[in-house]
Symmetry: C2
Subunit: 286 residues, 2 copies
């Protein structure tokens, strides 16, 4: 199974150059030759290794390591950012996870540079940080809805690349995922929310207004992905009409990233034998 899933990594990696999202089959499962049940089993099979690697990352911080992971989740409404949090991030120890959800900026946040609130949401050393939306909203919705001048949007692409390069130098491993669904799939998911009273709370009439700007968002994504698809922080476009593939693909990217860190258990910074002897010889305790 490991051989099967590791091919996902290459299949979803966005190649350099111009981006054409319409050419990506959102209903595909690239790099994986199984069906839904196989995909769910493959994800569940990752849990132990993910947990082990996460604990090593967590342990490393106790001896001063600055390493940490930052998973950036972007995608249109209903693309499944919450589903990835629940099903993929839910596999690892919540103690080592830091999730930051970015909503519309507050007045205080708007008064600062767009990266100000992002800096505040970064994970500490040893954590797997997850951004549910991110600084990319500042070149996506900000562009589509003209919340900033074109010159400012233009400035931001380079600012993002500088920012992510700095994070990479500081010990961050950055995994950027665009959860890519089709307009038809979004329509079906919105209809499902409307049809199910248990899901009404997830629906907002403004969702349809945003949906009407679908092609403008696609263009904004294409520009943003092309301009910020760097070696230290490459983009992955995850076909996400199939929820199970979306969850599996993000899990695989997380697993490969952790594997790539060659994480070792910290060595003892005390005398193991002396402590063992001290414990054995202690005065009665009760």
């Amino acid at each position: 199974m490991a051989m099967t899933t590791s091919a996902i990594h290459d299949a979803v990696r966005l190649p350099p150059g111009p981006v054409d999202l319409a050419s990506v089959d959102t209903d595909a499962a690239p790099g994986f030759d199984g069906k839904k049940a196989d995909g769910k089993a493959a994800l569940a099979a990752m849990a132990d290794e993910l947990s082990d690697l996460q604990e090593r990352l967590w342990a490393e911080r106790t001896v001063g390591s600055e390493r940490r992971v930052l998973l950036v989740l972007q995608g249109m409404d209903t693309s499944g950012k919450g589903g990835v949090l629940r099903h993929t991030i839910g596999l690892v120890d919540p103690q080592g996870v830091r999730i930051t959800s970015f909503k519309a900026p507050t007045d205080e946040e708007r008064a600062q540079d767009f990266l100000w609130r992002i800096e505040k949401g970064l994970p500490p050393a040893g954590y797997i940080g997850v951004f549910d939306r991110s600084h990319y909203e500042d070149v996506l919705i900000a562009r589509v809805r003209a919340f900033a001048e074109p010159e400012e949007i233009e400035r931001r692409y380079a600012a993002i690349n500088d920012f992510e390069a700095r994070l990479s130098n500081e010990g961050f491993s950055i995994i950027k995922c665009m959860l890519h669904i089709s307009a038809d799939e979004q329509k079906a998911r919105l209809a499902e929310r409307l049809a199910n009273p248990e899901k009404h709370w997830k629906y907002n009439p403004g969702d349809l207004d945003e949906r009407a700007r679908w092609s403008a968002y696609r263009q904004a994504y294409e520009v943003a992905l092309e301009r910020t698809n760097t070696d230290v922080a490459p983009w992955h476009v995850i076909p996400s009409d199939k929820k199970w593939f979306r969850n599996l693909a993000v899990g695989q990217l997380l697993l490969e990233t952790l594997r790539g860190l060659d994480l070792q258990w910290p060595e003892a910074d005390f005398e193991v034998e002396a402590e063992t002897e001290r414990l054995a010889q202690e005065a009665p305790v009760q």
Copy 2:
């Protein structure tokens, strides 16, 4: 199975009055008549209901509810606070969980009232917040190590009760758990950490110095539990030599608390039929 586990709730609830921790069998599984495998199965069987209730709590906040849960975990070193986070809290959606770990206070924190940093770590509405250690350290280690004057420690019991009563009025459901292990069990767990190089990072020579103060800690716990065992925020003493029972008992308390909130899915604050029609009639999107 539900009938079997619900008895745990009453069995671990600390009755009012003087507390004698030595009389509690730390290796027992009160209120549960199964073995280890049954206990693990019973915990796993809670996952769906826990998830459903947690999502309702999360949904409720979108329509202005202030309700939230605060789980306070206290216990001696190796008592398994981390294990509860991994195995019990790990069952629910990490998106709705806020874990705050309290270490030795910083200079900045020390310059403020002891509840200052606690306030900052409280979960927002809709969250299940977990305190890995808490304001109780300020009447436990602070008392044992004389980090504060006796008069100040005395003041804190009442301050904690006032604080928790205020939280309860503001929509917090408070679950306080003391994970209770025997001195022998702690010795075995420390020896295990010393014997396993993968666990050396969890060991600190200072742990043995604290262990030598075992009876002083027990006394401090007994006083603290008695003085802060209120109706709105009662204590539970969880026998924790059996890790599976510890995880199950905390899960059961969390489940009962969420059940008690009678959580309902929010009603739509928009016209469902009109939106359904609007979605059906939309201009082509792509």
